[in-house]
Chain length 329, copies 2
């Protein structure tokens, strides 16, 4: 595991108080469960990208804060609703919002954070804010479409790798791409720079999700905060599984048979895991993560050659990409 | 029942194709359940208000269409999620989205319509669109806060009438107020006119909800599409119930006792209904509806005196108010 990049701590210091201030304006019925959820927050990759994308175009980090808060709130809304959809009662070793407060509260608190994200961005109306809100609405729509496809995959056979990657580009990539460019949008940077940052984020998203898919099968429960092989237990058609199912090997046929059974006997989880590996799912997903990590870095290299782009911020974006893709897999 | 105002049909013709076009852009997994929900749509009061609020300031009805579509999508999102929250398996004599497609699909389709509303408004960026989106984000936030309070009331005792009205101003009033002014916002009308229209809508919202609360207790199931006394069965603390509970009468004490019981014996629904009436809940809620109907009309009268305001559209807003408040109660 690479060392934790300093931007994560720096962004947290800047963004967390602003997020807390936004949430503190909710009525008690929404605020209490929202704050409970926020206490179990992750590393803050998305807000860090938003801050760096402001700094990358020479703006002060504060310029990226409304975008960082909006993206954090959208991410939280999606997690709260995903936990209802997936019937997950635990996240990061704590009960999820619906498990603690009830499904109805989970639905409405997620809705409240979704709405709050747009309120935060639209509070001060400026041309840059509008573009930021417009792009956010498109990113959120893509994320939700990806989530709906992910759900549909669980009961659909014959998913191609391209179907699966398209789903993940929506579910994870759209918001990471947005996070990686919103600071530059708010700083009113050139379109070419905004596009380059968004491209970096889109590739980072594919790499990030590929690593997440590997952890969902081979990750250490202590570190992931989820049961071992969580994605297999839920019969997720994640990238490694789809690669193995489409491998045309004997492992593919056997994996399809096991995946079709609703209940698993002892040893079948381990068997499924071994079959995904035998079908090439592990190696090819690692390769995919590396390829998109490389493409993300290459987008940064192009940006760094532009006069108006700040080298230090771009270097921090590279470190963040290394950190994300360097998670144990 | 007053005659159906012609604006409802006229607005439907204008708005429904635009809403259908927006929804048709969703991926199949979202589009199919969204279209299923839209087939069971109501009278279209909110889109009609949006169209009239454009016409009221001399703009063509088309100016109000993006606002009408956004408000329709937000209303649909809230209904789909409310049905999950309230565990309602039927709406307008058809299975609700979650009952037909599953809870997860209900959550994600609601989310998709919520996001789509902002996409529709922000698609063409103009100063008017931004203000429309900003006000929508505030209206949606108020609606969600009202919904969360409504949920909390079910298990809370000692709700004052003011608590209850504040909840309803959020849950119903905020979006009706927005619907009644968004056309004028999109037409870039004067602030004073926009505010007057919003005031009309806010009073209309209170009157509308008061009538809805009466129908939730005394409405004919054939017409409401809900079981008789639906709100009492769910132990809703709606306005008539809260008035009766706070009436200081013997009926109040008896009603509180019945309301505290999770299971009702035969006859207790009728007993509860009679106690709400004995505690003044029916008469005072009717009075409240009339008062706010009058205030809504008075806001229109002030508007009609302004040179830039179109009398015909204001007259149609008055007819719509009469129609809404004139529902059998």
């Amino acid at each position: 595991m690479s060392q934790t990049p300093s931007i994560l701590g720096r962004a947290k210091e800047l963004v967390d108080p602003a997020t807390a201030a936004a949430v503190s304006g909710l009525c008690d019925e929404l605020r209490v469960p929202a704050e409970y959820h926020l206490q179990g927050r992750g590393k803050g990759t998305r807000p860090a990208l938003a801050i760096l994308s402001a700094e990358a175009v020479g703006a002060p980090p504060e310029t990226g804060v409304p975008g960082a808060v909006a993206i954090e709130l959208i991410h939280d809304f999606s997690l709260i609703h995903d936990d209802i959809i997936d019937n997950d009662a635990e996240r990061r070793h704590r009960p999820t919002v619906w498990a603690k407060f009830g499904t109805g509260v989970g639905v409405v608190v997620g809705d409240a954070l979704h709405a709050l994200a747009f309120e935060v961005l639209l509070r001060d109306v400026s041309p840059a804010r509008i573009r930021a809100a417009k792009n956010l609405s498109e990113g959120v729509a893509a994320m939700i479409a990806g989530q709906s496809k992910d759900m549909a995959f669980e009961t659909r056979s014959a998913i191609t790798l391209e179907d699966c990657l398209a789903m993940e580009r929506g579910k994870t990539g759209a918001l990471l791409s947005y996070a990686s460019s919103v600071g530059a949008i708010l700083a009113e940077a050139d379109d070419a720079v905004i596009d380059g940052l968004a491209e970096y984020g889109a590739h980072l998203g594919v790499a990030f999700q590929a690593v997440d898919d590997l952890l969902g099968i081979w990750g250490d429960p202590e570190r992931t905060g989820k049961p071992a092989g969580a994605d297999l237990r839920e019969r997720k058609k994640s990238v490694p599984v789809v690669i193995a199912l489409n491998s045309g090997t004997p492992a593919a046929e056997e994996l399809a048979r096991i995946y079709a059974r609703a209940e698993w006997q002892a040893g079948e989880l381990d068997a499924a895991r071994a079959l995904v590996e035998a079908g090439g799912g592990r190696d090819e997903t690692r390769e995919l993560a590396c390829t998109h990590h490389r493409k993300a870095v290459s987008a940064l290299d192009s940006l760094a050659q532009r006069e108006e782009v700040v080298g230090e911020a771009v270097e921090e974006m590279r470190l963040l990409a290394d950190f994300i893709v360097g998670r144990d897999f």
